[in-house]
């Protein structure tokens, strides 16, 4: 007797589901696709409106304010290098892509994290889903995403969201659960509503953890840019992908360095946002 004979037809089920969605809900996906597309392109236009040098100085100033001189200098030098390599438009396209993906991931992820911190049932259900999202090889859902949303920027955004959302949920949940029980009890003992307890006590105290989630979310989005480029997203990922396929080691390296620079700048800035409350508290 072969166990194979008792195969559960997971493959057929998946095929059927995708085909079903494509055949019956195409207008919905197209409509959704349109929204995301206009969002990304709108953001691209806004980012490209500002003259490069102004933008670079602005980022450096923000870095100075939030994170200190080191990050400010690095941001200035790094972004100038980007611009000098002629990668400015691509950088802005990538920014638009990851900011959109991060924004959507957070808008969904943080409330889900709050929900899981308040309900063990929700968390028990969500945990395996998050494991699935983080470990399922990306191409497995990238292809169905292309089939449903069509080639271009939208399936890239969707795939990026799926991949980058879990840490935002996990760290929001963890941060709120780690708020000391006695402090939450204190809030309740004064007659706070659940919403007051959440906004006045739990979220502020969980903020460092939530910001770490935001940070991770951005970092993971950035790690997706080359894959996003394979299905038609433009930007730095596109530069790298094109260079690889043409075996242009040099320009591939340039694109790669550009991704790293953005990653470091965004990482340092968002990390210091998480630490800000403690910094103010110092004597």
């Amino acid at each position: 007797m072969k166990i194979e004979a008792y195969k559960i037809p997971l493959d057929d089920w998946a095929d059927f589901t995708v085909a079903f969605l494509r055949d019956n809900f195409r207008p919905v996906f197209r409509w959704f696709s349109g929204i995301i597309e206009s969002f990304v392109y709108g953001l691209e236009d806004i980012l490209m409106m500002a003259p490069e040098i102004l933008f670079i100085l602005l980022v450096a100033a923000i870095a100075w304010r939030l994170s200190g001189r080191g990050t400010a200098i690095f941001s200035l030098a790094g972004l100038l290098l980007l611009a000098s390599m002629g990668l400015w438009p691509e950088t802005m396209r990538t920014m638009a892509l990851i900011l959109t993906a991060t924004f959507i991931a957070l808008v969904i992820g943080i409330p889900l994290g709050i929900l899981s911190s308040h309900s063990d049932v929700v968390w028990r259900i969500l945990r395996p889903v998050l494991d699935f999202m983080q470990t399922m090889p990306i191409f497995v859902y990238l292809l169905p995403a292309v089939m449903l949303f069509g080639i271009g920027i939208v399936p890239a955004v969707i795939a990026t969201i799926v991949f980058s959302m879990p840490p935002a949920i996990r760290l929001t949940n963890l941060g709120i659960r780690n708020v000391p029980g006695e402090v939450v009890e204190a809030a309740h003992s004064f007659g706070s509503s659940s919403f007051q307890t959440l906004t006045k006590v739990q979220l502020p105290l969980a903020m460092p953890s939530i910001m770490a989630g935001v940070n991770q979310c951005i970092m993971l989005s950035l790690s997706m840019v080359v894959i996003a480029a394979m299905i038609g997203a433009r930007g730095l990922g596109g530069v790298v992908y094109r260079a690889i396929t043409r075996l242009e080691i040099g320009s591939g390296f340039e694109g790669g360095v550009a991704v790293v620079i953005i990653a470091i700048v965004l990482d340092r800035i968002t990390q210091s946002m998480g630490k800000e409350p403690q910094k103010n508290r110092g004597t």
């Binding site: 000391p180 006695e182 402090v183 204190a186 809030a187 004064f190 007659g191 706070s192 508290r281």
Partner: protein, 404 residues
């Protein structure tokens, strides 16, 4: 005094199916068996008591005795499994959440063992928290919070964060935060246990002093019997979730309900708990100021005393006459007792603890007079009764004095 809090047949059982566990308990299963066989822990077991307005009610027990669970049942931070809790006649156990929140805002405030301050808020914002939740305007609540901070001696600390304060100061903030909402009832869950002994003593004294002015109803949890005896108007001693004895400090000390309570009180420094009124004897032998020296002399002879207290109307203490002075007066023909009476005699109030009487008792050649605020003579204390009180023979001692 009016009834403030009433707790009837309160149970709290922790575990997946408290109702079923309760049934098993009623069928006679022991708490240990219940825990081992079904995984249910008994937090509070059939507790009933009442608390009067303005009373400090101390709940005393070792860790795991259910005292913290009990106090959390009163504001329903923990939901009781069964039983009824009434505050001002309102049954709060069945109250819907919205109404419960209103009760918590208006009547109850809690002070926590580990302070439980909000680390991301300044001291002033911490103290103002309760008022903020009630929806008070920012300016008004900060003004109120500042006033309360002043009463706990932290008026210049409003703008710093909790972690910058010492433990003692943090707990003052915890107390201020509770007092800011002007609650009827203060729930204090081992508020001084995390403080070092000196600060703890200081805080106990301050609480006692504040209570004289505030007259709040206070439920005070502690594992420290000395603290319980010092602060409590009445004390409930808990063991394994059940109340073993409820009584005044004196009752607990002199008449422990069982061996468990007795084993607690053996180590107590009695001199700091027993008061003058507990060891004084009734002044059976007195002489009125209008009586003459001869009457005084005869009474002393009858009782075999060497001195006798002189009292005026309403038993006001006038002084003491020794046998020598009385004999002298009879010989010289002096008839006014007040002229020969010594007015400079040791007196004390009935609330004075024995510890504070020791120096006077050592020096005094005459008994110490116990008087109230109108100088009415309530009782007398002879040196031997101070000593007897110290070694814990309160009751026998009293009867011994009466016959003396």
């Amino acid at each position: 005094m009016s009834l403030k809090i009433e707790v009837n047949d309160l149970y709290k059982i922790f575990g997946p199916n408290p109702g079923l566990a309760l049934e098993r308990l009623e069928k006679g299963m022991s708490k240990e068996e219940l825990l081992q066989k079904t995984g249910h822990a008994v937090g509070v077991y059939d507790v009933s008591f009442t608390i009067d307005e303005g009373e400090i009610f101390v709940v005393m027990g070792l860790s795991g005795s259910g005292k913290s669970t009990l106090v959390r049942c009163i504001n329903r931070l923990i939901e009781p499994t069964r039983g009824e809790i009434s505050i001002d006649g309102l049954n709060i156990t069945t109250l819907p959440l919205e109404k419960l929140r209103a009760v918590r805002q208006e009547k109850l405030a809690m002070v926590f063992q580990r302070f439980a301050l909000f680390p991301h808020r300044t001291i002033l914002q911490n103290v103002a928290y309760g008022l903020e939740v009630q929806g008070m305007e920012r300016a008004a609540r900060e003004k109120k919070a500042q006033e309360v901070l002043e009463t706990v001696g932290l008026k210049d600390w409003g703008n710093v964060y909790p972690e910058q304060l010492s433990g003692g100061m943090q707990q003052r903030v915890g107390l201020a935060r509770a007092l800011a909402v002007d609650p009827d009832i203060l729930l204090m869950d081992e508020p001084f246990s995390a403080l070092d002994p000196l600060i703890r003593k200081e805080m106990q004294e301050e609480l006692t002093e504040m209570q004289l002015k505030m007259r709040k109803t206070i439920i005070f949890i502690t594992h420290d019997l000395d603290e319980a005896l010092k602060l409590g108007d009445r004390i409930a001693i808990m063991k394994d979730g059940a109340v073993v004895q409820i009584g005044t400090p004196e009752e607990i000390l002199t008449n422990p309900a069982n061996d468990y309570v007795a084993s607690f009180v053996t180590d107590v420094d009695r001199s700091r708990v027993l008061k003058a009124e507990n060891i004084m004897m009734r002044p059976t032998c007195l002489v009125r100021a209008t009586d003459g020296p001869r009457v005084a002399l005869r009474k002393m002879e009858e009782e075999g005393l060497s001195s006798i207290f002189v009292v005026g109307e309403n038993r006001t203490l006038k002084g003491i006459v020794t046998v020598d002075r009385a004999v002298e007066a009879v010989n010289t023909g002096e008839t006014d007792l007040l002229k020969i009476a010594d007015e400079d005699i040791p007196v004390t109030s009935p609330e004075t603890v024995i510890h504070d009487l020791i120096p006077a008792a050592v020096e005094a050649k005459v008994p110490i007079a116990v008087v109230n605020e109108n100088r009415k003579l309530l009782g007398i204390i002879v040196r031997v009764s101070v000593l007897a009180g110290l070694i814990g023979k309160g009751d026998e001692n009293r009867s011994l004095q009466d016959s003396a």
